[in-house]
Symmetry: C2
Subunit: 233 residues, 2 copies
DNA sequence: TACTCTGCTGACAACTGTTGTCAGTAGAGT
DNA sequence: ACTCTACTGACAACAGTTGTCAGCAGAGTA
């Protein structure tokens, strides 16, 4: 096997696991000597890959490390840039930050002609309707969904009344302009939707929930039917 | 210089230009012999890079070739996936197609834990309000903007009247739910906005326009002030 | 047609980088 | 103390890369 290819395999072997792996194991898997593995690891570290080696334990790759490289062509890059700008404008601070960093990385490799097109910004995404409180709540809710964490919500109902709920948050939907939380409501014992912009506070609890056949986003989606067309004018 | 690095430089040299470049020039730039360049080119072709060599002319890289590889970390990938889903749902067919291809490429390299998160689709983007005719018009308009091509537009005014215009299309804006075309209107001798969903037809002409200080998207943007907050309920 | 420019290939020797082996040090856990 | 493992240096064997030379082929030009 080629050296370059072996280095690539090596990152894959390290990336795929959470526990440490010894140089000997890697050497056996790649059919080379341990010495070569040590040299390869050094090479990878030199090129910036954060591998942690501990005597007596083995090698581990730092989590949240960059994924394998991706190649996009010109039209895909345009779409990714536009999409990132949308995320920048219409999601919580954390996602928006990630989108910004992605945009920077993309900009760094654009050839001149595409850079001109990107700077021209002929596809604009105004961000004027994101407000800071909404962004924080949206982020808290998103985290709770990811962690399957039960949350306590206070919000203003459409009729102006104040209300509070204990919810199992299942997912968020962006309906052309507004984010909406879909959750299992313990008060109503049923699915409910909550517009993020009407939420006053969202506090994650210590309790975790589990999704099931009759209690999941998929199940909720199977219950509703999207209207064929909706007028947003 | 390392061979791997030289191959990388080589693709960059080829990618940056539209005219052909000879092996001799490449050899001089990279400080190696022509023979080595020929071997390198062969290596690149073997790994799938579409380089065209013609005797008496030189080398050219096929346009729309994939850009240099990009490395994203986990949070950036999540943002890119969400953004791509937004583009898939809310733009014209061509961009949406590019977004789909980008999503496929991303999915192909996701580690298991992220794949689960992506499949879970906790951030949904409903696409029910894209209709096919709008998508075609939006695409035609976008192309005209890119090419700086004058267009002939027919549309339904808000008051129900039919109207037609000759326009220099400058950009498109997505205002939380609707795409809007910003253009220089030759009838009014001023900037005008046109909602894409009210456009009946858009035909590019043979004429091309040039943007200038007083006749550009930047200038238009400098004229308006975004409202601090808008109610989309 | 002859000539030039350039891509492209093969052979080979000089050179450079890579690998395995061996030998040894150092840190962490038992 | 003992084991496991990371890590380093030296060196010889080996593999891959490079430059040189020589020659063929196609495209364009005088």
């Amino acid at each position: 096997m080629n050296k370059a290819e072996r280095l690539f395999q090596l990152t894959n072997l390290l990336r795929g696991r959470r526990t440490a792996i010894t140089a000997r194991t890697l050497a056996e898997k790649l059919n080379v000597s341990e010495r070569t593995i040590y040299r390869d690891i050094q090479a990878l570290e030199l090129s910036g890959i954060p591998i942690e080696g501990e005597a007596g334990i083995g090698y581990r790759i730092r989590h949240n490390f960059e994924l394998p490289p991706l190649m996009f062509n010109r039209s895909e890059i345009i779409a990714l840039l536009l999409g990132s700008r949308m995320v920048q404008a219409w999601s919580d601070k954390e996602l928006a930050g990630a989108a910004s960093r992605a945009i920077e990385k993309i900009n760094a490799i654009l050839p001149d002609d595409l850079k001109a097109l990107a700077e021209q910004q002929t596809l604009l995404v105004p961000d004027y309707f994101v407000n800071s409180k909404q962004s924080d709540i949206s982020q808290a809710v998103r985290k709770a969904i990811e962690n399957k964490q039960r949350i306590y919500l206070t919000y203003n109902r459409a009729d102006g009344e104040y209300s509070e709920r204990i919810l199992d948050p299942l997912g968020m939907v962006y309906w052309g302009g507004k984010w909406t939380l879909i959750a299992w409501c313990h008060l109503r014992e049923n699915y409910r939707e909550f517009r993020i912009d009407r939420i006053n506070s969202a506090s994650p609890s210590d309790e975790y929930f589990q999704t099931s056949e009759q209690h999941s986003l998929d199940h909720y989606i199977s219950l509703i039917t999207y209207p064929a067309e909706t007028d947003y004018s």
